[in-house]
């Protein structure tokens, strides 16, 4: 067996509640290889976010083990987890989660601040990433000045800035209209295809899941389905700095 990038064994999470511990995740076993594009689906409350938070080292499992790139990360000290989140993982959230007071470029560069990268390099790298998502011209804007889809592209640039192994996205298109969702998904698919970035993405929508090569379905805190599929082909759609808004027919 080739070493998986992500490997979890009997991963479980109980939430403490007034009525005692609530099992949100019951012992999940799963492997995800480098370069995969995985969509996680399932009804609301089925444990998708709980699972993502564990993969993202934002929360500690109640039980089970988790190896990320061969390293056992289920029970690491706080600072080591911070470093893993900073260097190995990138997050994209449903609500974008940009810092409203900081410029677009500063938002993108923020992970580099915590990685102690020098100012000059931070600027160069942030510009590079903004160019990749086609938002170079908004570098000095505040997030509130750009559209939701543009904000999510800034968040994607921020997730990628420190060259992570995995990007975790929990319902990244949940707040976007279908046209903008298409744009974002095309960007993800292109990053996966061209740069080999491993993607784990939660969605309710089959249209969104269609972009992935593998679909995992949760039900009541357990794995209900794990199937591979032919992903929807990535078109010639481009997000060059010159044409930040792709033409409609390219993604239709």
């Amino acid at each position: 067996m080739t070493a998986a990038l992500i490997r979890v064994e009997d991963l479980a999470k109980d939430y403490p509640t007034a009525a005692g511990p609530y099992p949100a995740l019951h012992g999940v076993n799963l492997e995800i290889g480098a370069g995969e594009f995985v969509a996680i689906m399932g009804p609301s409350g089925s444990g998708k976010s709980t699972f993502m938070n564990l993969l993202g080292c934002l929360d500690a499992p109640t039980r089970g083990r988790y190896w990320l790139a061969g390293q056992d990360v289920a029970r690491l000290p706080t600072d080591a987890l911070a470093q893993i989140r900073n260097r190995q993982l990138g997050f994209v959230f449903q609500g974008f989660n940009l810092l409203q007071r900081s410029s677009v470029a500063d938002n993108v560069a923020l992970p580099l601040v915590y990685a102690r990268v020098a100012r000059a390099q931070r600027r160069i790298r942030a510009r590079e990433l903004l160019a990749q998502v086609g938002l170079e011209r908004y570098a000095e804007s505040l997030p509130s000045r750009i559209s939701g889809g543009q904000q999510q592209r800034v968040a994607i640039a921020r997730a990628l800035v420190n060259r992570p192994r995995v990007v975790l996205a929990d319902e990244p298109t949940g707040n976007l209209d279908s046209h903008t969702s298409e744009e974002i998904m095309a960007l993800f698919a292109r990053l996966n295809r061209d740069q080999g970035i491993t993607l784990v993405l939660v969605t309710h929508e089959p249209d969104i899941a269609a972009w992935a090569g593998r679909v995992i379905r949760f039900h009541d805190g357990a794995l209900a389905e794990d199937r591979r599929q032919l992903p929807r082909p990535v078109s010639s759609l481009s997000l060059s700095p010159e044409s930040p808004r792709p033409a409609r027919e390219q993604v239709a």
Binding site: D59, D79, S102, L110, V113
Partner: protein, 406 residues
């Protein structure tokens, strides 16, 4: 790390100007009050220090008459018990550097159309040495003037201004109680004494002239006091012992008898005044610094609000790799920046306030560089101290709970 965090801290403060202003107000008032209090205190100390060095150092005065005699308290200098011979004998003592016998009284001065009433001091040339006093122009009268009881005078700048105006007083003539005196010299200005008298409002004449011609009836051959200067600060006790036993012996006062003179350590009196001023200023500063605590609590309060408001922001930062210490540092920087901002404005207001007090109330005021440095150091400490708890609270937030906030 500090660079971008500091930039963000300032950004956060700038984004809510009204709140920043109100929060720093406590620090502004506290620091301003401390600066003013310390300035007033050190101004008072400085003027006392100047008076002490103007008075002359390591000084005693020996006063004629005992402090109490036969159950009746007498003011010093009232009995005719000290003589020039006593002064000369004291001058011979090993620990005595210089002496100046003194008689004095008020007199009316006239020059041309100008009149001025002041104290006239009869003394010897050694007086200037004892008082650490120099001349602006002319010369001091000499021993020959003392021997011959010459009608010569050396005058202070206040007297010169009152009687001679812009005219050069040296070589001029003034009348003291009707008799003409030649002005030999003009004393260097000395300013106020530590008890507030104008020391330049004075006239010096030879002791013999004062005794025989000016105050003849009241001071036949006797002195009001003798100023004695010790050779060094650590010889003061020695001097006191030598002078006391010498005078007891010369005046044939046996053990158990009340002495007919008293001796006072002027330097000690002045130093007590300086110490009192220092304690006062520290006390005022301490009272003013209570408002710094109030300012610090204001900062803590607003930082706690800020941590709560920015819980989600903290969650985002932690999710992308901030360590607890990074979060703590960020909030600490913000509270220190807040405190320093208040401190800086407070220093500015304090300096302006001190200057206003100096001009309007005519009190000696001195804003020292030390008190400004102290104000900044204290402000930074207040920021760290009162920012610590909110910063720790921020650093301890669990990322997943912080992200769920709102």
């Amino acid at each position: 790390m500090i660079g971008p965090m500091l930039a963000e801290a300032l950004q956060a403060l700038a984004s809510n100007r009204m709140r920043t202003f109100l929060t720093t107000l406590g620090m502004v008032i506290g620091v301003g009050a401390v600066i003013v209090m310390l300035a007033v205190g050190s101004g008072a100390q400085r003027s006392i220090r100047e008076s002490i060095s103007a008075m002359g150092s390591n000084l005693f005065i020996v006063l004629a008459g005992s402090a109490s005699s036969g159950g009746v308290r007498l003011g010093g200098g009232n009995a005719a018990t000290l003589t020039l011979a006593d002064a000369e004998a004291i001058d011979e003592q090993p620990s005595v550097r210089a002496t100046a016998p003194l008689v004095y009284g008020s007199a009316q001065l006239v020059h041309g159309a100008y009149n001025w009433g002041t104290q006239v001091y009869g003394t010897t040339p050694g007086y200037l040495e004892v008082r650490n006093w120099g001349l602006l122009a002319g010369t001091m009268f000499g021993d020959s003037d003392v021997r011959s009881a010459g009608r010569v005078a050396v005058i202070g700048t206040t007297v010169a201004a009152q009687l001679f105006g812009a005219e050069d007083p040296v070589g001029g003539t003034l009348r003291i109680n009707g008799s003409p005196y030649t002005v030999l010299g003009l004393l260097a200005p000395k300013g106020q004494s530590f008890d507030g008298r104008d020391q330049d409002d004075t006239v010096l004449v030879p002791i013999t002239t004062a005794q025989r011609k000016l105050f003849g009836s009241s001071f036949r051959g006797s002195l009001r006091m003798i100023m004695v200067q010790s050779v060094a600060a650590d010889a003061m006790a020695q001097t006191e012992l030598e002078v006391t036993s010498l005078l007891l012996e010369r005046h044939r006062i046996g053990p158990g008898q009340a002495p007919d003179f008293s001796m006072r350590n002027l330097t000690a009196v002045a130093e007590t005044a300086a110490a009192t001023a220092r304690i006062m200023s520290l006390l005022l500063g301490a009272i003013a610094s209570i408002s710094l605590i109030v300012g610090g609590i204001g900062i803590m309060n607003i930082m706690l609000v800020s941590v709560t408001e920015r819980t989600r922001e903290i969650g985002i930062r932690v999710a992308i790799g901030a360590r607890p210490q990074d979060v703590r540092l960020q909030f600490l920087l913000e509270s220190v920046a807040l405190a320093l901002l208040g401190g800086a404005v407070g220093v500015l207001l304090g300096v302006i306030g001190s200057e206003l007090i100096r001009r309007l109330a005519d009190i000696p005021v001195e804003v020292s560089g030390g008190s400004v440095l102290l104000a900044f150091a204290v402000s930074a400490s207040v920021g760290v101290f009162f920012g610590w708890y909110p910063a720790r609270k921020a650093a301890r937030l669990q990322p997943i709970e912080a992200l769920r906030h709102h």
